[in-house]
């Protein structure tokens, strides 16, 4: 009885479907949609993007002096004393080499157009062997130290989400779109 009922109901469905098909000229398939919705609050740990306007900067605050301590402990082995470079990238100096016939020394001070990029890159990628381990305060502080070594900010200038995007980088206007 039960299975007969099912057969009967299936037959009814098929008849119904046939009538619908007759009425609708084209069969429209459902577009594949396999993404799972996620609430904004649940993705915040992944959203580490920081815009040049400072959008996305986390809470925290740091001074060059505080940053020096972090730098000596966690950065200096690769980037040299006071950001002089070697064995890895040089971070400080190079002023006057970008627009010249000499080899360009591209550093945070001489070349990088946005201070937010410095913060963003340290937060996502540094220290190299222990990325994403620094606190917000530490990232602000190390950023401040590197900018102060480059003469971009003063020794007493603290960085936070409000002040960092306002830092005017020396090579801010050094870029132009590719013409083709």
């Amino acid at each position: 009885m039960h299975s007969l009922d099912r057969i009967a109901s299936r037959a009814a469905l098929m008849i119904g479907a046939a009538m619908i098909c007759a009425a609708v000229p084209a069969f429209s398939a459902e577009a594949p949609r396999f993404g799972a919705a996620i609430a904004p609050g649940d993705l915040s740990s992944w959203d580490i993007s920081i815009g040049p306007d400072g959008a996305g900067l986390p809470p925290g605050r740091g001074t060059p002096a505080q940053g020096e301590a972090v730098y000596v402990a966690k950065c200096q082995a690769c980037h040299g004393e006071k950001g002089a470079g070697r064995p890895n990238d040089v971070l400080v100096g190079g002023f006057g080499t970008i627009a010249s016939d000499r080899p360009a020394v591209k550093t945070v001070g001489s070349y990088w157009p946005y201070a937010t990029t410095l913060f963003d890159y340290i937060r996502r990628a540094m220290p190299f062997n222990e990325s994403k381990s620094l606190t917000g305060d530490e990232v602000y502080a190390v950023s401040a130290y590197i900018l102060q070594l480059n003469g971009v900010i003063g020794a007493d200038d603290a960085l936070d989400a409000q002040s960092l995007p306002k830092v005017k980088m020396p090579n801010r206007d050094g870029f132009t779109p590719f013409p083709r």
Binding site: P32, F34, L43, F128, F175
Partner: protein, 427 residues
Amino acid sequence: MRKHGDSKEWQSERAAANGILNRRVFLEGAFVAAAAGTGSTAAGAEPLPVQGWMKQPGAGFSAYGQPSRFESKVARTIAPPANPATQGIGTARTPLQLLTGMITPNGLHFDRSHSGTPDIDPDQHRLLIHGLVKRPLTFTLDALARYPMESRISFIECAGNSGALSTAQAQPGNAQAIHGLLSCAEWTGVRLATLLDEAGVEPSAKWVVAEGADSAAMSRSVPLAKCMDDALVCLYQNGERVRPSNGYPIRLLLPGFEGNMNVKWLRRLKLTDAPVMAKDETSKYTVLLPDGKAWQFVFPMEVKSIITHPSPGLTLRGAGFYEIAGLAWSGQGRIRQVEVSADGGSSWAPAALQEPVLPKALTRFRAPWQWNGGPAILQSRATDDTGRMQPTRAQFVAERGLRGQYHYNAISTWRIDEKGEASNAFA
């Protein structure tokens, strides 16, 4: 040493100076007639031996095939890291001079990484799409695998490829060392536009920030228009899952765009109204010009070609017939023509293009050459279907100098000496 150079048949097929022949000899078999009667005699030949491997059964089956043990030199080259404490920054270069065809085997695809190759569990990997969308979404690998797939044969070239030619004097180097940050594969995946449509792109969105799941969370801003055009979220590389060094379990493919933007280990796409000014689109991958300004957002790898055969390390063994072969490509379209020269660019002849000739893919070209045993300066120049022709080195330098570091696409040169050895040269 046989010399065919004086036969009348060859003379008639000369297409450019210093022995470049007409590509028609490939099509019409003209060289068969020309060679007739000049073959070496059988005198002095050794009797053919029956080798040991013909007399006993060979090895059994293997679960994943490997090249012959006699091919062990066909391998990527890996530069030692500048700092042993920071492993994973660097490159593995494709041995272009030891390969042919248009497809790079997966184990030989070039690898440029900034923080090593992560060991990603696909079951735990997620792709997140968020920002200026109506519905933020996450995708598992199982979910992505259910979408309609699309395959595309596409080259990927590191923006720093051929940067070794940015020196004032030519430095030693072979095709792999100079040009080996270039590969081509059949990539298969889901159209990014399909996934973005599902998330519902807000009208204010103009850019998509793509980010990897590597330790450095490498990220780049991509114009939304490119993402909606031909971008793929790739699960497969030459039919098998994407290799770890090329982005397993998923990578972004932006056909024709500089390699760095084809984000590996793709984990996040954030739609924004402006570029995020990531490290790799400001401090790196910008092209410094002589006046101190730098081009930013230099996306397409422009039309380019290189000769892979002959090239340094592939010594010519006596005067006679050789095939000049190489690769041509354009990030802006399809290769329309490749020309070759044996006299440093004074005279050119068109090469034969191997089908298929696909947009934004490597194209194999070939030209017949009768080497007279003397010095030769081999060059190739490509033209794509937008009409752009690969610049001479002088034209390239006149436009942007030699400080750019990235996007070097000028005509390159191999000098052949009387011993048949090839070396990097500027001409």
